[in-house]
């Protein structure tokens, strides 16, 4: 029994039951498959989190985002600039207690280099209702090539606990239908 010493002192010489052996082989192969599939998705899939990141001083990052917002602002909503960057360019978003700033306007089917960083504590970028969730750290600038595949109004909530105002921390991304003919082609190419 499991609560008494094994019958044979040298238990590793015991034979293995056939059913166990079969199951071990199945479990091993399935594990191997899942392992390989993560690698394979880097080649066949189009949702792989970028590893591009830089150390950044929070105040330097704040300046960068403010410069970006000033340059490409198209309008304002409740005191927050709405920023429309050029297709394919660098887009900056900052997280701070308790706000995502600024509001972004993107075009469907166009790829952007989205920069993400926090000015204070850790925050969680959670795009709704699309459900893309990325951790945002102070001191690290994460660069993600993002291509919206739907148009409309999308929310960003914070899903990393960041103090008493955590649940009030929201932001917005607008995605407009593309105007150029080649954009559809770009989407098909996945870039």
């Amino acid at each position: 029994m499991a609560i008494t010493p094994p019958e044979h002192r040298i238990w590793w010489n015991e034979p293995i039951e056939r059913v166990e052996l079969v199951w071990i082989v199945i479990a091993f192969l399935w594990g191997l498959f899942m392992f390989v599939f993560m690698i394979a998705w880097h080649f066949i899939g189009q949702q792989n989190l970028s590893k591009e990141a830089y150390r950044v001083n929070p105040s330097a990052y704040e300046e960068k985002v403010e410069g970006f917002a000033k340059k490409f602002q198209v309008r304002e909503e409740q005191g927050i600039p709405v920023v429309k960057a050029q297709a394919g360019s660098d887009v900056y978003l900052l997280a701070r207690l308790w706000q995502w700033w600024p509001i972004l306007e993107l075009e469907k089917g166009v790829s952007y280099r989205i920069h993400l960083s926090s000015l204070d504590w850790q925050h969680g970028f959670s795009l709704q209702p699309t459900n893309i969730n990325i951790q945002v750290h102070p001191g690290y600038e994460h660069v993600i090539s993002l291509t919206p595949t739907q148009s409309g109004e999308f929310g960003i909530v914070c899903n990393e606990f960041c103090g008493i105002g955590h649940h009030t921390m929201t932001g917005k991304i607008y995605v407009t239908e593309q105007k150029r003919a080649e954009a559809g082609q770009r989407l098909a190419e996945g870039r």
């Binding site: 094994p6 191997l32 951790q135």
Partner: protein
């Protein structure tokens, strides 16, 4: 005292009684320590469970009980009390049981064991005080730069030191038992499982020390900066590994209960022990699970670590998922329940709360906690669920429906054996594992469903009900009579058709659910 005087000098002082159910020799000092740790465990489960109920009632929009400030405070306390204090106190009791009691030995250095216990109690109280004072609502994870009061961290450190002493007492007891020849041959499988749990515990506590001591000094102002990414890597070597102690401990308890209640004997010692060994070798890589959505980490690092090195530790759990019900089936067939595929299962002692708790724990841990854990820990799929309420859904499947339910089942064994007490309300005890298990499984599934839709975790203001907290009211612990039947049946190749069907169903669910999530992922915006 040196180790030698501890080991060598005391045998005359140890006092034993003989257990009327099992004939095991029980060291009275070990018995007192098992009782103390188990009682402390249950007290913290009650505190933590009550806090959990308040959390659930707040997230339930129709009730929305607490104001935001209190919600985050209580959620922090809930995490620390149930994930650390309840579980680890109980695990120390399990370690003493699996060493001193199962090996017929005296416990090494009971005075040190009491010192460890006191440190754990003081630590747990200090952290609770810090939380209740209201300026340490940093969640269980306490990610910097968010900062708690120094005694929040100090409490955790003291608790960890106490737990480390408990592990050392366990190892010393193994040495004592071997020196004094209290058993023949190799240690039993349950003790072997407990050894893996204790080894993982030492790793866990060391990681905790490496990160919590500097964090404590930071909260005192002696260190100016803690890198948030570095903190997460090391903190999760404690945070996730502490949950891997649970896995080793509750799998040991599955074997223990199966042995005591139906006389189950491992199909082969080699397979079950090797599966435990996989835990030691690979479970620790799991801190990577929590860093899949972080900036700057390379995909190859993530893939190797999050898969526990090609899922070899997952294979360990899948093996136990076969060998535990397989051993039960083999034993039941020896006991004469041989008709059809499932007579062995139908005629199992379902009325005994230790058995029902253990078997439900096995099912829920595998189907809910296990499968969701692998999916959640897949490099790319994590983006779908990172920090959503899917995450607590997953670990309520593992820690509540799995570990906690198994530990509750164990108390139905430990009460007659160690506390020598009879059942208070046997009828209620009989249904308790069903109420708690199904409630816990339900809450896990609700949270996983909501998380798949993107509902955030640790969030006060949400218009989605994840509340199904009623079951938490139902877990006061009652003892049961220890109907302990044990056989030592005949050998040779058992036929296990029922178990084969069970694992086949499990495997199909696993594969389907895995691919459904890849389908979800492929529908997201493109990112790289």
């Amino acid at each position: 005292m040196t180790a030698e005087t501890v080991v060598g000098a005391v045998p005359a002082k140890a006092e034993f009684r003989t257990c009327q159910y099992t004939g095991l020799k029980v060291d009275v000092a070990a018995q007192a320590l098992i009782k103390a740790n188990a009682v402390a465990a249950v007290v913290f489960l009650l505190i933590g469970g009550l806090m959990g109920l308040l959390v659930a009632l707040t997230r339930w929009p129709a009730v929305h009980l607490l104001p935001a400030e209190w919600f985050y405070l209580v959620l922090t306390g809930h995490g620390a009390n149930v994930l650390l204090f309840w579980i680890i106190f109980f695990e120390i009791a399990v370690l003493y049981f699996a060493s001193a009691v199962l090996l017929n030995s005296r416990l090494a250095a009971p005075k040190f064991a009491w010192l460890g216990f006191i440190l754990m109690v003081v630590g747990a109280l200090a952290t609770n005080v810090a939380v209740l004072q209201g300026d340490s609502s940093v969640m269980f994870t306490s990610y910097p730069p968010m900062q708690a009061k120094p005694h929040f961290y100090l409490g955790l450190i003291l608790f960890a030191v106490g737990a480390l002493i408990g592990c050392m007492i366990f190892f010393a007891t193994l040495v004592v038992a071997r020196e004094e020849r209290t058993y023949e041959g190799s240690i039993p499988l349950v003790t072997f499982g407990a050894v893996t749990a204790a080894i993982i515990a030492v790793f866990t506590i060391a990681s905790g020390a490496i990160i919590l001591i500097p964090t404590w000094l930071w909260s005192l102002g002696f260190i100016s900066y803690i890198d948030p990414l570095m903190y997460k890597v090391v903190w999760w070597a404690m945070g996730h590994s502490s949950q891997q102690i649970n896995v080793s401990a509750h799998v040991s308890i599955w074997y223990l209960i199966a042995a005591l209640l139906v006389g189950a004997k491992p199909l082969s010692e080699k397979v079950s022990r090797t599966a435990f060994l996989m835990y030691i070798l690979f479970l620790q890589l799991a801190s990577a699970h929590h860093l899949l959505a972080e900036p700057g980490l390379d995909a190859s690092w993530k893939i190797v670590n999050t898969s526990y090195m090609m899922y070899l530790a997952v294979m360990g759990s899948m093996v136990h998922g076969l060998t535990v019900p397989g051993a039960i089936e083999a034993a039941q067939r020896r006991n004469g329940y041989n008709r059809g595929m499932f007579e062995w299962l139908r005629k199992a002692p379902w009325g005994h709360p230790a058995f029902s708790g253990m078997f439900l724990s096995l099912i829920f841990f595998g189907f809910i906690g296990g499968i969701s854990g692998v999916v959640l820990g897949t490099e790319q799929l994590n983006v779908l669920m990172h920090n959503t309420i899917y995450v607590p859904g997953h670990f309520h499947g593992t820690v509540v429906a799995g570990t906690t339910l198994a530990f509750m089942a164990a108390t139905y064994i430990v009460l007659p054996l160690i506390f020598q007490r009879e059942i208070v309300w046997p009828k209620l005890a009989r249904i308790q594992p069903y109420l708690f298990g199904i409630g816990a499984a339900g809450i896990s599934l609700f949270m996983m469903g909501a998380g798949t839709l993107g509902v955030a975790r640790r969030h006060w203001d949400i218009t989605f009900s994840d509340a199904n907290g009623g079951h938490k009211l139902t877990f006061p612990l009652f003892s049961s009579g220890g109907a302990v039947a044990s056989h030592y049946g005949s050998e040779r190749a058992p036929k296990l058709p029922g178990t084969i069907i069970l694992v086949a169903i499990f495997f199909v669910c696993f594969v389907l659910y895995y691919f459904i999530n890849w389908k979800y992922l492929s529908e997201l915006w493109l990112f790289q």
